[in-house]
């Protein structure tokens, strides 16, 4: 069992600070009021207990002055809560004009996000309830720090709720209607996403992670190069994902597999490494080297391998090459596909499995 979490949980957005200020204002005022009532109750219960009194009591019917006082003063205090609360709510419900837009789709029991450049990522859900490809695509919702983002949300089935406690924000996700929420993250780090509206059996597993990263990391990730989401497979819609599709389509996998009897080296963790060359010397495996190896494979052959690879010149466009580089760059140990893998269906579109369920 863990020790006690901090008194005030981490605050990671501008609205979070507004929430905390308001929350503690109400807390202090209510605590004072409540303790006042408790003090009076305790004092009366002790001072006027039967043992110290005669049993004969004064006939006190009330006091208009007191009634007025304890009607008007609480009303004013409550309205101060309302006013401040309305100010915070106004901020929370109106995203700034310059916010970057990200789409989020909720379904039983999965969250999917799509970035402006088409990159799609599953940001959480119940893995037991997913296809193999979906499971491998579970990543994080990567957001840039210190930049407002607007989240536009819709549900594929029942009502969900996209809540991020660290941002002190939440909003229901409805079927058939878009709702929006927005954040201005102020801290880097990883934060919980919870589904806060009961949505069925695995409601409590409809959770995910937000990763707030620096602007540079974010750009790199959005450019399809980085893999900060921590998903096993490149994120759908990213350059690396297209590269993976090509890698399978062009049959690269037939030789560059993780099989011990493979005819070509496995490419996991290749990017940036120094590769010893057949016949002496070594090369840094950067984008230039990888592109050259695809177009003119027999020019520089890695030590210990036969020069059997055909040239792909004319078969791949420069864009394809970029995608393949991004994919190879994203390949982490243990993530090379099986030789029998087919191209995975795009993540995010309704899947065959979920249609069958309807």
């Amino acid at each position: 069992m863990n020790s006690l979490p901090p008194l005030i949980p981490v605050v990671a957005s501008t609205i979070g600070y507004h929430f905390e200020a308001l929350f503690w204002y109400i807390m202090v005022v209510c605590t004072l009021g409540g303790l006042g009532v408790y003090a009076a109750l305790l004092y009366f219960c002790v001072a006027y207990r039967r043992g110290t009194t005669t049993g004969s009591t004064p006939r006190i019917l009330g006091s208009h002055r007191l009634e007025l006082a304890w009607t008007i003063i609480p009303t004013i205090i409550f309205f101060s809560f309302f006013g401040w609360g309305a100010v915070v709510y106004t901020k929370a419900m109106h995203p700034p004009q310059d916010a970057m837009e990200i789409f989020v789709i909720g379904k039983q029991w999965m969250w999917k996000a799509q970035y402006p450049n088409g990159q799609r990522v599953i940001i959480g859900g119940n893995p037991r309830n997913m296809t193999e490809a979906e499971r491998k695509s579970i990543g994080k919702l990567v957001l840039p720090v210190d930049r407002p983002v607007r989240i536009t949300m819709i549900s594929e089935d029942v009502i969900h709720d996209f809540g991020v406690p660290a941002f002190r924000m939440k909003m229901d996700v409805l079927p058939g209607r878009y709702t929006t929420t927005w954040y201005h993250p102020t801290k880097t780090g990883e934060f919980h996403i919870f589904c806060d509206q009961y949505c069925g059996t695995w409601h409590s597993l409809m959770v995910g992670k937000i990763a707030v990263v620096g602007q540079q990391e974010f750009d790199e990730w959005l450019g399809g190069l980085g893999s900060y989401q921590g998903s096993e497979q490149p994120v759908d819609g990213s350059k690396a994902f297209s590269g993976r599709q090509l890698f399978l389509k062009l049959q690269c996998i037939k030789c560059h597999s993780a099989d011990p009897n493979a005819a070509a080296p496995v490419l996991e963790g290749l990017y940036g490494r120094r590769v010893p060359m057949k016949g002496g010397g070594a090369e840094y495996a950067d984008a230039e080297y990888i592109k050259q190896s695809i177009l003119k494979p027999r020019l520089k052959v890695a030590q210990g391998w036969e020069p059997i690879m055909p040239s792909y010149e004319g078969q791949v466009t420069p864009d394809d090459l970029d995608d393949l580089v991004a994919y190879i760059r994203s390949l982490k140990p243990g993530t090379t596909p099986n030789r029998t893998d087919r191209m995975s269906p795009p993540v995010g579109a309704p899947t065959v499995r979920s249609e069958k369920k309807e």
Binding site: N2, T57, P74, R168, P175, T201, S204
Partner: protein
């Protein structure tokens, strides 16, 4: 304005002799099961309700036990997600629709309203019996839904989950709620008409006990609100069975519409649950502090204020549900307004204790517990009514804790206070003083330990209805479960000493608490028609003349609980004086 303080002079009204035990009384007039099942006596029907809601309370409590035990571990301690979802739904449906809503109106209201206003029975005795049968039919559907495997929609039944997605027994469960709603309407109508038409001579509106006022306000909500939930549940069933699109956007409906309709009833419904409890507290605090209620009119009208304003704030359950920005502002503003009458009540109860002569028998302990817990329950409601804080706290354990502070800390303790206060009247016996005080103390302490950690959990963002949760929340969940086991123990005690008192309890007189209400005029247990046919009560004064030492008939009060003993200052203060015009000294302060 000034505070009028009138000190009672020598006790002027003579104490009436103890009335002879009623032969037969309503309990022993007949013994057959048939006579109970066909009774039209409001007291017997009250007991029928008492038995049935006690069963549902136990069942709901078991479901709560499953929920709390399972939360001991972040991945669920012993049941799977489906079972957990059915357990919390069962807990919610049973406790709300089959315990809290009928508890005080069905049991104490049925039993006491006619006696308090000096009537022989409720206005429509057969309707009253019908309401119990309708309730039991509704409950039968609820039990069917449970036995067939339960419902997993949560008590809020939000579509399209409940109409399209859930594979559980939604129809029988919802149908049970639909049917039992009619029982609620019947009881509300009955009480309302009774209060209007059957008050004893002299029982003016300004002399009604505050319990009657609060049940009158409750009845207003039951009459006007329950039909809306009936319609809503019918629409839900129609959509689920026939696929007619009302709430499901896939077939042309609007899911937010359901929430509006549902909360239009279910928000006032929480006042159906809490207002009767408030009424009980007004009776108990005055009696055990020997004081007039502070601000009778303020307390009475605040009940009506809550009942009326309570209809105008349903959408504060929907601030993040996708409603319009401006309606959120409006409903937050109105929600602040309903907090005011609740605050007024608390201040007046506190003022009632001022310069009292307070004893701490079980009803008083439960009553004080009510005030203490209701203060927290009410104040935490402000966090949820405030827009800026509700965004984060909505649908977290903060809501769960707030709701339980009001409903359990408030209503259940109010109900316990009422049961303990009127138990000697209902059965003519007194339960164990010591055990009842111990039970009250355990329940209040256990309650705090259970629900205070949940506020912290909610503030940290733990969503409600989560059998799996991040490990950092485990500490508070374990604390809460530990508290719940103490609370459960506290609830077990009355299940022993109350029934045992029926056999072994000391005989209680007509007025064991030395209280002023008309219900204490009849012998305990009361005769079949409450009051002596030839001697119907004529009310001469307001309900809480403890300072003067007279009941509502203007007769002196017998020695109170623990009084009449030599060492008690109250009993030897004054000897009863000769009858005559009431004298009082009035001093003016403030």
């Amino acid at each position: 304005m000034t505070t009028a303080v009138t000190t009672a002079g020598p006790k002027i009204a003579p104490v009436p002799p103890e009335p002879p035990p009623a032969e037969p009384n309503y309990l022993n007039v007949s013994y057959s099961l048939w006579s109970w099942l066909t009774t039209v006596d409001h007291k017997r029907i009250g007991l029928l309700y008492l038995i049935s809601i006690s069963v549902f309370f136990v069942a709901g409590g078991v479901a709560a036990g499953v929920v709390r035990l399972n939360l001991l571990s972040p991945d669920g301690a012993f049941v799977n997600e489906d079972t957990y979802n059915r357990a919390f739904t069962g807990h919610g449906v049973l406790m709300l629709f089959f315990f809290l809503i009928p508890a005080v109106p069905g049991v104490l209201g049925n039993f006491l309203i006619p006696m308090m206003i000096g009537a022989k029975d409720l206005a429509f005795p057969k309707l009253n019996l019908a309401s119990w049968y309708v309730f039991m039919v509704g409950a039968g559907f609820g039990v069917w839904a449970l036995l067939a495997g339960g419902i997993d929609t949560g008590w809020t039944l939000y579509p399209p989950y409940s109409s399209r997605s859930s594979t559980s027994n939604v129809i029988p469960g919802v149908f049970g709620v639909f049917i039992s709603g009619f029982s609620s309407i019947m009881t509300g109508l009955n009480i309302m008409v009774t209060v209007h038409k059957m008050r004893a001579p002299g029982m003016t509106w300004g002399r009604l006990p505050l319990f009657v006022w609060s049940l009158y306000a409750t009845s207003l909500i039951q009459l006007l609100g329950t039909p809306v939930v009936a319609i809503t549940t019918v629409l839900l069933m129609v959509e689920r069975v026939a696929g007619i699109g009302i709430f499901d956007p896939m077939i042309g409906g609007d899911p937010v519409l359901f929430q509006h309709l549902f909360w239009f009833y279910s928000h006032p419904a929480v006042y159906i649950m809490i207002l009767p409890g408030m009424g009980v507290i007004s009776e108990v605090l005055t009696c055990f502090s020997r004081k007039n209620i502070f601000g009778y009119h303020a307390v009475a009208w605040s009940s009506m204020g809550i009942a009326v304003v309570g209809f105008l704030l349903w959408a504060h359950h929907m601030f993040v549900a996708g409603i319009s920005f401006y309606s959120a502002l409006l409903f937050s503003f109105l929600s602040m307004l309903v907090a005011v009458p609740s605050a007024i009540k608390v201040f007046n109860w506190t003022g009632t204790l001022y310069r009292g002569s307070i004893t701490f028998q079980a009803p008083m302990l439960f009553g004080l517990g009510f005030v203490v817990l209701f203060v927290i329950g009410g104040l935490t409601g402000l966090f949820l009514a405030t827009l800026g804080t509700d965004i984060h706290l909505h649908d977290t354990y903060f809501v769960v804790a707030h709701f339980h502070f009001v409903m359990v800390g408030g209503m259940v303790l109010g109900y316990m206070a009422g049961i303990h206060f009127w138990w000697p009247k209902m059965f003519g016996v007194m339960y164990s003083d010591w055990w009842s005080r111990v039970a009250a103390a355990i329940i209040i302490v256990g309650f705090f330990l259970t629900f205070v950690p949940q506020f912290v959990l909610g503030y940290h963002g733990m969503p409600r209805r989560y059998p799996n949760y991040p490990a950092e929340f485990q500490v508070y969940n374990v604390m809460s479960t530990a508290g719940a086991s103490i609370l459960g123990l506290g609830y077990l005690l009355p299940a022993f000493y109350l029934p045992l008192s029926l056999v072994f309890g000391k005989k209680a007189g007509a007025n064991p608490w030395s209280a002023t209400g008309l219900e204490w005029v009849s012998p305990s247990p009361p005769p079949l028609f409450n009051f002596d046919e030839a001697n119907m009560p004529v009310v001469v004064c307001g309900p809480y003349e403890y300072a003067l030492g007279v009941d509502q008939l203007g007769r002196g009060l017998p020695p109170g609980p623990g009084l009449g003993e030599a060492n008690d200052p109250a009993s030897k203060s004054e000897a009863p004086a000769a009858p005559g015009p009431m004298k009082k000294e009035t001093e003016v302060v403030g």
